[in-house]
Amino acid sequence: MRVYKPRKLNGDLPGLLWIHGGGYVLGAAESDDALCVRYVKDIGCIVVSVDYRLAPEHSYPTPLEDCYSALCWMVNNAELLSIDINKIAVAGNSAGGGLTAALTLLARDRKFPKVHVQLPLYPMIDDSNNTPSANEITEGMIWNQQLNDLGWKLYLGKLYGSDNIPPYAAPARATDYSNLPYTYTFIGQLDPFRDETLTYVTKLAQAGVDVEFHLYPGAYHAFESLNPHSSVAQYAMNEYINAIKIGFDRISGSLKEAKETTA
């Protein structure tokens, strides 16, 4: 794991667990150093970035359990890390977004730790790989149906193609989305994950979860990460970073309200 902290600390800060992307097969926490440093500066939080083990060497559930271990470690060591455990967020992009969605389901069902904000950004959550957008983006475009199939095959291992895939492996299979944290996500309209994301946010909203969502026309998979200087990427990044702040502010508001009620 990599822990990012401001060099000058005045009291506890919110905690953000970051989960990198890479189709469950590629990527490393180290590659997102600049991004995590930006979160610390712009949000005013402590970031823990988890270097989870990757498929195919480590198929499901190892990557998810690694993320869960990191989340537990972060909360159990909150005092040492100067983290306010009443303000915990989990975020990640692509496969990291899928792990984010899976992790909040897992933490909810294991009843620990409490997650207050989640950002499953353009998440890889539907192993069916058979949505209209997956069928539309079949080649090129950074990530496509063909690569997606390989990613799921390697991540699910022996489970691939079976009917026994748990929602913690592919959160699109969940049937209960209630009691999940405030959620923000976005996606490009030319991303094969477009429709699974649309379905996911719809199900969250129907389950009574507060959710915000932005669809970027003309944008492909991971556009904000690959084109950081483009205006659309800057807009998308500013918006989701702001959403994390809003998520934490909502908690501050609730805590203040609760204190006033009990006073």
């Binding site: 794991m1 060099r7 271990s69 492909y220 084109n227």
Partner: protein, 71 residues
């Protein structure tokens, strides 16, 4: 390609120059290495970066099962 025509102009250059990814098992280590080589050093003036290793829960679980079998 029809999808390419729908991409907004400021995102086209990166798309056109992006190498085709492959997830064939035998070349995954090379792809991972190539991605790592693209990492640039980060300014740590205001933010510290600490690398911490924790024992993975799943490893602990397997170890417990192994000990039980031994017993």
């Amino acid at each position: 390609m029809r999808n390419r025509e729908r991409v907004i102009p400021e995102l086209l250059e990166v798309l056109d120059n992006f190498p085709e990814l492959s997830l064939e098992q035998e070349i995954i280590p090379q792809v991972r290495e190539a991605m790592k080589n693209g990492n640039e050093p980060v300014d740590q003036t205001d933010v510290s970066i600490e690398v911490i290793a924790i024992q993975h829960m799943i490893t602990k679980k397997l170890m417990c099962e192994f000990i039980n079998l031994e017993n």
